[in-house]
């Protein structure tokens, strides 16, 4: 007999609605709310031993604490699989399922299965980390969504062959693997058949979908540079030598903001790079090669630019996902707007 644990929010945990959204995490033995249906669908093979309940707002505003508390609950529990939700279109609930699911999967290395509607923001945030099945819009789809989660959970636990995301019904995790077609169809037949369809204007389906290109339109030029405030943002990993914000050397999720208002240039020994993707020798000897404060100060004196923004912003680009990079950029933009920055020099390495 395999064991499972389910995560749900305060509403489905029968604590209460919005007024109870600050409910701190609790773990209960046995089945609460949707856990009853989940157990019914899992049948004899898997026993749901515990239900974890946490308020959506609590998880949203105290994420680290909530996650740590729940990981603590789980430390002495035996379980083979973890479920979260279904969260339907409830955004905060979806993000909570994703946050806890990702943490459980990383810490305990067990499969994590959730379900959300395609419009739930949790889908894009966490589809790469856990199995998120394509779910209904509201709790009316509860039974159906739980059945999908349970069926897939049983498949995993029994060691059955898992099919592709599309065939199983979960949102693809951005993970591509080779498979043998059953029944077998040779590439020669597939390529000629696809060409005939394309030639005849019939629908065809590529085997390698090209993701839509996410291009950003080029900004209009600054009209009068001599009055403009210019900031430097870099993914080259230049930080104060003690790296006070503990920005990672690769696959960064953190960024830093450092005051340069009283500096003419970045001095070696005061700043360095923590970027793991290139030879750091030159940048460590002269950090201005990545954060060109020396050159901008010269322009400032010559009147070419109005002024240099008081801070520079920095993270590490190597191995950093597009998603994390975009999030960090959105956060940095708020500071740039606040500082009434007109133009940014974005230095990559």
């Amino acid at each position: 007999m395999k064991k499972a644990i389910l995560y749900i929010n305060q509403f489905f945990g029968q604590i209460g609605g919005e007024e109870e959204a600050d409910f701190a995490p609790e773990i209960r033995e046995g089945l609460v709310g949707p856990a009853i249906e989940l157990q019914k669908q899992l049948g004899e093979d898997i026993k749901v031993t515990h239900t974890i309940i946490c308020g959506d707002n609590y998880m949203g505003s105290n994420t680290e604490e909530a996650v740590n508390t729940i990981l603590g609950f789980l430390e002495d529990k035996e379980f083979d699989i973890f479920f979260a939700g279904p969260a339907f279109r409830a955004g905060r609930y979806g993000v909570a399922c994703g946050n806890i699911g990702k943490a459980v999967s990383e810490k305990f290395n067990v499969p994590v299965i959730s379900s959300m509607n395609e419009e739930n923001p949790g889908v894009e945030m966490f589809r790469k980390d856990i199995y998120i099945f394509k779910g209904g819009k509201s709790a009316a789809a509860m039974r159906e969504d739980i059945k999908k989660m349970a069926d897939f959970g049983k498949k995993i636990v029994k060691g059955e062959t898992l099919l592709s995301a599309e065939e199983e019904g979960y949102f693809g995790r951005g993970l591509r693997r080779q498979v043998w077609l059953d029944p077998p169809v040779t590439a020669a037949d597939r390529v000629v058949d696809m060409l005939l369809k394309k030639l005849n204007g019939e629908p065809f389906k590529t085997e390698l979908p090209i993701p839509p290109v996410d291009t950003v339109p080029i900004a209009p030029p600054i009209k009068d540079l001599s009055k403009a405030t210019i900031a430097i943002v870099t993914s080259g990993g230049i930080v104060p030598v003690d790296n006070p914000d503990r920005i990672q050397s690769a696959s960064a999720t953190r960024w830093g903001k450092y005051d340069i208002s009283n500096m003419e240039r970045l001095e070696a020994g005061v700043f360095k790079t923590i970027h793991a993707g290139f030879d750091p020798m030159v940048a460590n000897q002269n950090p201005n090669v990545i954060v060109p404060l020396d050159a901008l100060r010269a322009y400032e004196k010559e009147g070419k630019i109005g002024k240099v923004h008081e801070y520079f912003y920095t993270t590490v680009g190597t191995g950093t996902t597009q998603g994390e990079a975009a999030r960090m950029a959105r956060e940095i933009v708020e500071h740039l707007k606040e500082g009434q920055v007109d133009g940014v020099i974005l230095v990559s390495t």
């Binding site: 065939e167 080779q178 077998p184 590439a187 390529v191 696809m194 394309k198 085997e207 090209i210 290109v213």
Partner: protein, 441 residues
């Protein structure tokens, strides 16, 4: 141009008195065959084995595969390579089917070499586990490349071709069990029924990345790196005008056997006059410099347009850097108004999460994927190894390694192995055999 391929279906291969073919049994006089191999004084050691599907045999390092054939009216099977230049694709060629000559290094392998398991879990990864194979395992005095990761494998590859011609010659005067006829009228002299169908070209991007001569595919003996795209008759491809090279991770390579049998060409022939009008083949290449990529793409699109193509299939021999040529060529064809489908393996990384092609373009909206070169494969020990198992870990195979912090070495003490699909011999079968695809999980 009319090519008659006379087929002899080999049911079994044995060593015997006289190299001959009778009732499905191919008999090989081993001594005589080895004499042909040893004609090149650079061969220092050679032996022949027969391996069949189901045999508990692992072959590594595999360098080349060739179908034994003979040109009935005389002349080399590979014009400009194993003999004088002459027109390929016309006349009668006899072939021993369901069997191949495999060339295996006795000791030394390299980046471009591969592995074949004739049975067990590993057999599904290559086409050659389904064939009866005459295995030449040999060594040479090519000291200059013995410990190089990139090997031209010239002496061994040419020995394989000589051997294939020698074996093929035993069916020269026999009546084939099956006669396949490949014939296309000149493009401007076709009947209305053919002309009214959508016209299609097949663009073959042959491997040509090495600047130094001796590594790349050859067209009539000419290095594809020094070639501009050119129009070819499909019969030339099927009849020995092109031979495989000795560069690129093995799984994405096209062996000479692959090229001789090219399933996509055969399927296009089948459709010719029924659903499409098969114009022919545009032979292109995969040079590394950007201007060379652009020049080839421009010329391919121009030739296709000038020929009146409505549709095109583009196939690349390799991945990585060649993806740039592959995508550029598809884009150039689409921009010229030619509806195009691509044929390629992917490289998604060991975790499957990397971008599958080095470059991508929304215009490449129709691609058939034949496999994932980077997938990890773990296989148990095999009873017999022909060649040298250690080469997989030692010699810089594209899919093998000496050490890995997590996975350990590719070759373990008990003879079990862990490798990337990269080194499965011609495993991605881009020429069209592949029944693999890649899906998102």
């Amino acid at each position: 141009m009319r090519l008659e391929l006379g087929n002899f279906y080999v049911k079994d291969i044995v060593f015997g008195e006289e190299t001959s073919y009778s009732n499905g049994i191919l008999t090989i006089n081993k001594e005589e065959a080895l004499k042909v191999v040893m004609e090149d004084e650079h061969i220092t050691d050679a032996d022949l084995h027969i391996v069949k599907p189901g045999d508990r045999v692992r072959l590594v390092p595999v360098k080349e595969a060739i179908e034994p054939r003979v040109r009935v009216d005389g002349g080399p099977v590979f014009p400009g390579v194993t003999g004088d230049l002459m027109q390929a694709g016309n006349g009668r060629t006899h072939a021993l089917k369901d069997c191949s000559v495999l060339v295996v290094g006795k000791h030394w392998g390299g980046f471009q070499d591969g592995l074949i398991d004739m049975s067990g879990e590993g057999a599904k990864y290559t086409y050659y586990s389904q064939l009866k194979n005459i295995v030449l395992v040999a060594d040479t005095d090519e000291e200059f490349e013995k410990r190089e990761q990139q090997k031209k494998n010239r002496v061994l590859r040419w020995a394989g071709m000589r051997l294939a011609e020698y074996i093929g010659s035993c069916v020269k005067d026999l009546e084939p069990e099956e006669l396949e006829v490949f014939e296309l009228e000149p493009i401007v002299k076709r009947i209305k029924q053919e002309n009214d169908l959508p016209s299609v070209v097949l663009v073959l991007q042959f491997q040509s990345q090495m600047e130094e001569l001796g590594y790349n595919d050859l067209v009539y003996g000419w290095d594809t790196n020094r070639m501009l795209p050119t129009f070819m008759h499909p019969n030339e491809i099927l009849d020995g005008a092109v031979i495989s090279g000795s560069f690129m991770p093995s799984s994405s390579k096209w062996s000479t056997y692959d090229i001789q049998n090219f399933p996509v060409i055969r399927r296009l022939y089948k459709e010719h006059g029924k659903t499409l009008n098969f114009l022919g083949v545009i032979a292109s290449n995969l040079n590394v410099a950007l201007d060379q990529k652009e020049r080839s793409a421009l010329l391919v699109a121009q030739i296709a347009k000038s020929l009146g193509a409505d549709g095109a299939i583009v196939a690349e021999e390799g991945y990585g850097n060649p993806d740039a040529d592959f995508i550029a060529c598809i884009v150039a064809l689409e921009d010229a108004g030619i509806k195009t489908v691509g044929l390629t393996p992917e490289c998604t990384g060991r975790d499957g999460r990397s971008q599958p092609l080095v470059t991508m373009d929304p215009k490449a909206d129709a691609i058939v994927s034949t496999g994932d070169v980077s997938q990890l494969i773990e296989l148990p020990p095999m009873e017999t190894v022909i060649g040298e198992l250690e080469s997989l870990a030692r010699d810089g195979f594209a899919g093998g390694w000496w050490g890995d912090e997590v996975l350990g070495p590719s070759v373990r003490e008990d003879g079990s192995i862990i490798m990337e699909n990269n080194s499965m011999f011609c495993g991605d079968q881009v020429v069209g055999w592949s029944t693999k695809t890649v899906k998102e999980f």
